[in-house]
């Protein structure tokens, strides 16, 4: 009888210990954390048969919160801060994207916390732009550790049609529908 009790005890211990161990390890790896945006750039690329234009903004702000195994990041950038090197073009962009009425581009990213320690992050994105909201699933961002900072780079495949933007034209030829946005941001955790 005692032997069967001892066997049962060992069986129960063997069942509990790995589970508790895994839970403790999981909790330590995925503890709550806040991500603070240090600096970075967002650039969009515009193509026209006669022009290839890149416009960059250095005015993005962001914050990230990781909790219960998931991370939520919010990045915002004023539309009017994109500089293509030509004032006229930038004002036309603000007009075409309703940038005065909707002055911010908001990007919300949602991804598993476990990916914050890996080379690639696959985030579900919700982008609010020009009064419209578009969703992009599993967009890949590369994560590079640089000392205490983490550099996140990637491209969001925005298109004009996703946001009901009437494509600006030059010499009656409209720009390409694709306006990919290149993200290059440095973050640190708290």
């Amino acid at each position: 009888m005692k032997r069967s009790f001892l066997f049962a005890f060992l069986l129960v211990f063997a069942a509990i210990f790995p589970a508790q161990y895994l839970d403790a390890q999981s909790d330590s790896q995925q503890s709550d954390s806040q991500w603070i945006f240090d600096q970075g750039t967002l650039s969009y690329h515009m193509s026209h048969p006669m022009h290839e234009v890149d416009a960059t903004s250095h005015a993005a702000r962001g914050k990230g919160v990781c909790h219960a195994g998931w991370c939520d990041f919010l990045i915002a950038v004023p539309v009017k801060t994109f500089d293509s090197g030509d004032t006229n073009r930038d004002l036309h962009m603000i007009e075409a994207t309703k940038g005065a009425q909707f002055p911010l581009i908001l990007v919300r990213a949602h991804f598993p916390q476990a990916e914050t320690s890996q080379q690639w992050i696959h985030a579900d994105l919700e982008v609010q732009f020009a009064g419209q909201t578009a969703h992009y699933a599993k967009i890949a961002f590369e994560r590079t550790q640089q000392g205490s900072e983490v550099r996140i780079t990637g491209t969001i495949p925005l298109t004009c049609s996703d946001f009901n933007i009437d494509r600006p034209s030059f010499l009656t030829v409209p720009i390409k529908n694709e306006i990919p946005v290149r993200v290059d941001m440095n973050w640190h955790t708290m």
Binding site: A8, D23, H67, W70, D72, N88, G99, A100, H122
Partner: protein, 263 residues
């Protein structure tokens, strides 16, 4: 009432197993690192889904409950949604987040006027070039083939009509740029500066050219050889057209002609 030890052990084992099941599932919910790495190497399949929003007067922080197509269900991350950062966390001033419908209306009007400016400007190029070409032809030949200094009425009328059309279109084009709404606190840089600077060349040129043309015509009608400032009618016209063409190229610069490039 006491259970037999074997049954007690069996029930305890089942109870513990059931209790531990969710923990194990939670611990195994994330893919293994190897699986995730494999997924990372694969190309991204972005499938945007656009939602139309009513146009608010100001841009609000999006609802944390906004559904994402491939996002986990709220049951998977209930606390995460409640702690998601909001726009107020980013430190923007109200001026930066508030929409300005009045400014948007100004921008819309500005763009409309500049579109017309662009179209009319291109249309103007045609009679301008024709006027330049017909200028030297205004000097006709006489019946015996000898050149005559005074232009024939037919050629001169055609040249003058083209010049008048050019001037009318030119000043219409200019008015759409001059009267387009100006936006405060927008220092100009880039190609638009050259475009505007060249207007100080072709603008006076477009005023001077017809005046000098009229002077030249008057001198010829009086049997005089064209002289003085009137003799500059041709050179001024050429300089005006060159500046006008350069202005079009400047606003289009840098031109990237890709049609002969292989992708």
């Amino acid at each position: 009432m006491y259970l037999q030890p074997e049954k007690f052990v069996l029930r305890a084992a089942i109870f513990l197993f059931l209790c531990l099941m969710p923990n194990r599932m939670h611990a195994q919910s994330a893919a293994t690192p190897a699986e995730r790495q494999t997924a990372a190497q694969q190309p991204t399949s972005a499938q945007p889904q656009s939602d139309s929003q009513p146009a608010p007067s100001s841009q609000q922080a999006p609802s944390p409950e906004s559904p994402l197509p491939n996002a986990p269900s709220p049951a998977q991350a209930p606390a995460s949604a409640s702690q998601a950062p909001s726009l107020s966390d980013l430190g923007f001033t109200p001026q930066q987040t508030q929409g300005d419908p009045k400014l948007q209306a100004e921008l819309n009007k500005r763009t409309e006027m500049l579109k017309i400016h662009q179209r009319l400007g291109l249309i103007t190029l045609a009679p301008m070039a024709a006027t330049l070409i017909t200028g030297p032809m205004a000097k006709a030949k006489g019946k015996n083939g000898e050149p005559i200094t005074e232009p024939s009425n037919a050629n001169l009328d055609f040249h003058a009509a083209l010049g008048g059309t050019t001037a009318a279109l030119y000043f219409s084009t200019a008015s759409f740029a001059i009267f387009a709404p100006k936006l405060p606190n927008t220092p100009k840089h880039g190609a638009i500066r050259f475009h505007e600077a060249l207007a100080f060349v072709h603008g006076p040129g477009m005023i001077l050219t017809p005046i000098l043309g009229a002077m030249a015509y008057s001198q010829e009608q009086n049997g005089q050889k064209v002289h003085g400032a009137a003799s500059l009618h041709g050179p001024v016209a050429v300089a005006t057209v060159c500046a006008y063409g350069a202005s079009i190229v400047a606003v289009s610069w840098p031109i990237h002609l890709k049609f002969w490039e292989k992708k």
